[in-house]
Subunit: 249 residues, 8 copies
Amino acid sequence: MQEQIKKLLQAIQQGKVTVEEGMEQLKELPFKDLGFAKVDNHRALRQNHPEVIFCQGKTPQQIKEIVGYLAKNSNNILASRASLEAYEAIKEVCPEAEYHALARMVVVNRKPLQLNKGTILVVSAGTADLPVAEEAAITAEIMGNRVERLYDVGVAGLHRLLAHLDKLRKANVLVVVAGMEGALASVVGGLVSRPVIAVPTSVGYGANFHGLSALLCMLNSCAAGVGVVNIDNGFGAGRLAAIINEDAR
Amino acid sequence: MQEQIKKLLQAIQQGKVTVEEGMEQLKELPFKDLGFAKVDNHRALRQNHPEVIFCQGKTPQQIKEIVGYLAKNSNNILASRASLEAYEAIKEVCPEAEYHALARMVVVNRKPLQLNKGTILVVSAGTADLPVAEEAAITAEIMGNRVERLYDVGVAGLHRLLAHLDKLRKANVLVVVAGMEGALASVVGGLVSRPVIAVPTSVGYGANFHGLSALLCMLNSCAAGVGVVNIDNGFGAGRLAAIINEDAR
Amino acid sequence: MQEQIKKLLQAIQQGKVTVEEGMEQLKELPFKDLGFAKVDNHRALRQNHPEVIFCQGKTPQQIKEIVGYLAKNSNNILASRASLEAYEAIKEVCPEAEYHALARMVVVNRKPLQLNKGTILVVSAGTADLPVAEEAAITAEIMGNRVERLYDVGVAGLHRLLAHLDKLRKANVLVVVAGMEGALASVVGGLVSRPVIAVPTSVGYGANFHGLSALLCMLNSCAAGVGVVNIDNGFGAGRLAAIINEDAR
Amino acid sequence: MQEQIKKLLQAIQQGKVTVEEGMEQLKELPFKDLGFAKVDNHRALRQNHPEVIFCQGKTPQQIKEIVGYLAKNSNNILASRASLEAYEAIKEVCPEAEYHALARMVVVNRKPLQLNKGTILVVSAGTADLPVAEEAAITAEIMGNRVERLYDVGVAGLHRLLAHLDKLRKANVLVVVAGMEGALASVVGGLVSRPVIAVPTSVGYGANFHGLSALLCMLNSCAAGVGVVNIDNGFGAGRLAAIINEDAR
Amino acid sequence: MQEQIKKLLQAIQQGKVTVEEGMEQLKELPFKDLGFAKVDNHRALRQNHPEVIFCQGKTPQQIKEIVGYLAKNSNNILASRASLEAYEAIKEVCPEAEYHALARMVVVNRKPLQLNKGTILVVSAGTADLPVAEEAAITAEIMGNRVERLYDVGVAGLHRLLAHLDKLRKANVLVVVAGMEGALASVVGGLVSRPVIAVPTSVGYGANFHGLSALLCMLNSCAAGVGVVNIDNGFGAGRLAAIINEDAR
Amino acid sequence: MQEQIKKLLQAIQQGKVTVEEGMEQLKELPFKDLGFAKVDNHRALRQNHPEVIFCQGKTPQQIKEIVGYLAKNSNNILASRASLEAYEAIKEVCPEAEYHALARMVVVNRKPLQLNKGTILVVSAGTADLPVAEEAAITAEIMGNRVERLYDVGVAGLHRLLAHLDKLRKANVLVVVAGMEGALASVVGGLVSRPVIAVPTSVGYGANFHGLSALLCMLNSCAAGVGVVNIDNGFGAGRLAAIINEDAR
Amino acid sequence: MQEQIKKLLQAIQQGKVTVEEGMEQLKELPFKDLGFAKVDNHRALRQNHPEVIFCQGKTPQQIKEIVGYLAKNSNNILASRASLEAYEAIKEVCPEAEYHALARMVVVNRKPLQLNKGTILVVSAGTADLPVAEEAAITAEIMGNRVERLYDVGVAGLHRLLAHLDKLRKANVLVVVAGMEGALASVVGGLVSRPVIAVPTSVGYGANFHGLSALLCMLNSCAAGVGVVNIDNGFGAGRLAAIINEDAR
Amino acid sequence: MQEQIKKLLQAIQQGKVTVEEGMEQLKELPFKDLGFAKVDNHRALRQNHPEVIFCQGKTPQQIKEIVGYLAKNSNNILASRASLEAYEAIKEVCPEAEYHALARMVVVNRKPLQLNKGTILVVSAGTADLPVAEEAAITAEIMGNRVERLYDVGVAGLHRLLAHLDKLRKANVLVVVAGMEGALASVVGGLVSRPVIAVPTSVGYGANFHGLSALLCMLNSCAAGVGVVNIDNGFGAGRLAAIINEDAR
């Protein structure tokens, strides 16, 4: 595209194309060819980020093909919501892939990123929240972060959480994963002064309404500094935490 | 009624009434006259409980009339959701009435009940929750309970709550009042081993949805021993706490 | 930890550590090590309560491991939402475990608690509500309570309920379990003067919306003295009833 | 229109129009002109029913004009949700109009209908439900029904309701009006064997959600023979009860 | 029970039992035996109504036992939401039972009731609504009603419905069954002057939200004379229609 | 019916039937026979539209029978939400049927319609939206439209969408298919000046609530010219687009 | 901007700026200035469309300023949701503005557009729906369309609607406005073969939930060819109808 | 407290208190006195943060008192949701207070913080979103951040947003404020690689349901790196953005 504009300007310079014709041609250039190199190159700048595949609803065969394609161009790949079958299909085209069963994630980490300075702490309330917590932790790790875990510290047993006050306070970014009433995000948010990414989970039953109770609780947190992602969206929380943890410009 | 049946049986015994006629007459006795003396007298047994009027949606004139009527038969009266106008109307027929502006309650406590042994502790999260908290506290007081208050101890400043751990642990029944995310009920529930009555309030905005977030949070509490009442229902919580606090049979 | 503090104080006593250094070291001790003996020991005081496992979402193998661990330290164990497979896994590590199929509960009751004085009455509306009702009843029993059952007394056949008025009135705490419209809690609440724990169930279809109708009905009960727990939360209701039924302090 | 068809058939008879042309013309007649005399005349048959105006959202001036128009053709008129201002505007064009302040209804009953045989009983739970209950009662009355009222018999004081069992059982159709938890419909439905029209009201607060709790409760009624109308729709309930109470064909 | 009271009265008459003993014995009779003969006998009066079992959530074995028990005392039995397996279990104890596969109903009609005078018309919108429509129709039939069916007349093809205007107008009670937008109830309600029982079905997808759209549509019907039952509650609609269709008292 | 009216008019012409008798007979003809030829013939005018079967909830056998019947009268048939089994059943009676696996559609296109002038562009956000997008595209095609596809152009990668600005601007009607947040409809609606039919899909999880998020997003679109259909209703969108794309009258 | 580019190209032509410098300057121009002439000019093409202001939430003063600004560049202006005060403020800067009180719209139509060929028919159910219907009608008119109105034809009085079948069938686009149950859209959609834009209104009460019932009803319409806009969005419906009614490209 | 411990340790040192007694006394100290200096001092570390008052629901008098109290200890104060009356009351005790009418905020900025390195960009969709956007911007500013604003760049006019691509890309943290469909967050999230804080607003009507549509849209954003706060919570967004923008530890 650059070339195309260059040729046009040269033609104007050389008098082969009039100014009026030139303006007409500029208008006709497709949108992307003008401005959107600009749009796209921010991806290039961040090229070390892994390529991501959301496997839910895709067949192992489809996943295998997508990973096969990506593996040619990317060093690092992250497949979320991946079944064991999906993993086995992936291994055929990408033998170095590793499977994290609890998080249901497949990780290809050929060229690990240099670690960011701060630590990301993933805190979770109950054992049933672990898959989402691990999804967040692994996502943050492959994006170049030191991740610590603080699991099974629900608010009904406050002393378990408070015993780790130092760990909470040392983290640069916190991801708080909780289902049921989701109160952990508010409690943690009140104890720290760094950003808290809250992840409601669908863990619970009855008036939990598939995570709605935790979601609303977190959105209404009286603690400042809490941002919320979608129910069960461990990946999104891990990614947001990673972006925050990057060195500021 | 007992008399009525007795006479009937005597008449049968004396042959003045045949068995068939007797059966017919038994059927004709109104329902209440048979079984429902029994239904009703449990109220008589508990006659020291105050009579209660829910003022919302009633005119001061209507409230005045109702209180005027009750004041003839009851020692103690509790008018909830009462405006200042309602209070002034009540004073005309019941000069000893007192107004609790914050709780929007009018109290007539002519014959204070003997105090129950245990203490009821009313805990609230934010200042905006105070009207509901006071409604609960005053209700419990007029029903013969020692009530302590622990206000402004929301979970975002956990140390304020934990500084009163002894108070929390000494209470026999706890009423926890919180809006927004309502997480306080879970935290308190995890710190004590006595019953917690949770009252969600409509305090908040946005995804609070008029108290829904606090309600769902409290229903999904991971702490055992928490029972929930309707949004903003301080009266109901105070009453339930009072009933629990009565000496067991 | 106790040891750690003891040594510190001895060192101060012996002049090996100055007062200032001692204060510094006290601050550095992890949170739990200072205050939280105190936080934790309320559990110790109540040590006769059974340990509880919520089995839903755990594999039989996981459940077996947890029970195996708990069985070393606890006399009494309660596993809720347990399938037959879970029970069989538990029996391998804990042969005295009993299975209550209807309530889907496994009970290990090695050292039955002394019975509280009052009676807990579990009332249920329809046969489909029985699993939740039994969950509540069994929970209350293992926590040391005399439990009576009054089942299949839905409000559409009021005479069945009223025939047991004496039983209702004699109970110290009542648990009312109902699905569909959940009206039983209000009716029972109007007949008794002791606390009523209402448990909405997800029994029903259509505009029941998985228990929402019963939940809202119970929260809006016009009867005083009703506290509500989560939909289908028989365990929570049983536990709250048991705590209420303990002798007041 | 009748005339139009008549002329066409006469023209065919007289040979001025061929059969084919006649068929063509029949097709061209507007829809109503062919078949819909038939559609409409069922209204004619029922001409004694009052004309009804829903006043909410209309200005007194608009209401006055509509009533003025109707008053020329109808004997009986019913204006629902009418303010006092609306009533005063109506009186200018219809001096015999009466105002029922509680029900917010204006009634013009120039030619009272002959009474149907059965009785309609309107039952209501609390005093705040009275406007809706009266709306139902007055609607049924103007449609030619004997209406009895049984008010303030909420389920939390069951004995008040049961004291009137005979009245409940004698009614041919029952309208049950209740807010908050709406349990009255189920209880009444279980006591009678005639149709129950349930009207949820928006009376309540918090988790009542403007009548949703009562609505869901009534829709999920475990009692057979209950049909539900919209929240606060006293008019609709009265009308449905009246239609049911008409002598069967 | 009648017998029991009779014997008691005879014993009093014969002097075998004193009046005081008689009163004592009367008190001891369970509630129903005193007052609830009256409560209960309305069922006796209507004894031809079939006994009803809601099979959903019961095992074939349980259903078989219940039917076996009922078959000893009742002439007519109706089992709703019955699978083929349930039917086969029922046949073992009740060989004359018939299965209506579409309606998922088992019918035992040993002593058909005399037919009521009016006709009940069951109208349905789409083929997917047929199971619910048939449930309503069969329920009404076994309760002694002449039932006509008008199926597949959804509002998107209005001419199909209007072609049967006479049938609609001749019916004494109408049951209208519709999913998706549920508009059929309003349209039918506007065409007839007899009661319409509207049954929303869960037929549809997306913003149907399992029948919510049809339910809300029917509750908001601008046609007078429409009562609504729960989503998919064909049985309830059939029963309400049957009760309405009985000759008025 | 035409015949019936013809005979009647002939009889009038021949004097065998008087005008009055003729009018009487016209009234007696069933509704459809008078006016509804007219109602129906708009379908006749549009006879090239395919007959449509919604297969969800029907057995392959039922589908086969319906298609077998339709295949005698219609040239073109469209079966939506059809499984492979349904397709194989259809092929037995209609061997020329084709199966579009992704769209879950069976198409019988014996007599392809002449193409409308404008182009319909189907735009979709993610790969998981493809089945709905294809349902829309295939529906529009069989109804005689030139359809272009622009897939996988979600708003998170805006450059992919903007690269096809010309395609977007050339389309006469656009169908925009998106799940999750459904923002694509607003963005596309802001870029074009022709009608946009927005189809929310149920693709997503958590606070997506089965398509509710995309539905609400699309209904609240700040772009003018957007009409919304039901969640996942690709067929409805394709049909509406096709109707819009027909040449205006 | 055009000027800016022109000058740049002229400078290149005249050799005052090199090609390289020219490219650099092109890149520096704000995005819109390069590519978005193209993005924007589709608005230019449609320049006869009125400028639109949504007045709700703006002060009369703010509205006056905006209109004053627009009035300098646009011939036609449409202000929706405008109060009388807003209108009076507008008149000060734009004396030719007209106020449509019912639709709450201010119209400045200095240069009426040439009329499109087809007719847009706005159909509404009840009188309370008129403001929304008029908003749609006036919007369509100012955008150059022949608009007909068919008001007060709710489905409960079907004959009123059917009497205008010809009008319905002659329309090229239909806008159907209905509150309460919103069934009119389905009925109209079944009678015509042209696009139907359905506008749910918030007219109603109770289970209408501020328009939710009508919205869901319309989204679930079983009639093909219905697109839905937001509740009360008469403007959006009018605009979509106008765009559809434009001659196809 | 420090003193209390000091004295205790000195007493041990001096042999006045034994080690065992010392341990006993340590246990008896209130919770806060031991560990919670530690809990609290993280606030001390961050003491430059302004004190915050949420004014909604407080009287001007109450606000004045709180500010008067805070003004003695804090340099900087932020009062959100403050009316003009509130501001005037504040000025009496704090004359240097400034009022930001649009944001409804009162700011006391006696000792402005040193600016963080990165820039926070606040982006908003429509003019009605400005109060929330300004609330976020002013909050971030008083917390020591360089804030830029990019307003009125809704997705329906994409070119307005894209014209500022450089600004978007240069920001270190972005706050995106949007009502109605809330799509702006996804679009911005797709264009940048830094954290996006999304604030749904309650701007809109109808199916917006007071901000629900924007909230769900943002939670379901397909763009990574988006965290959501409560509806209309500009303050929370500003604060979270400020915390993120602080230099990492």
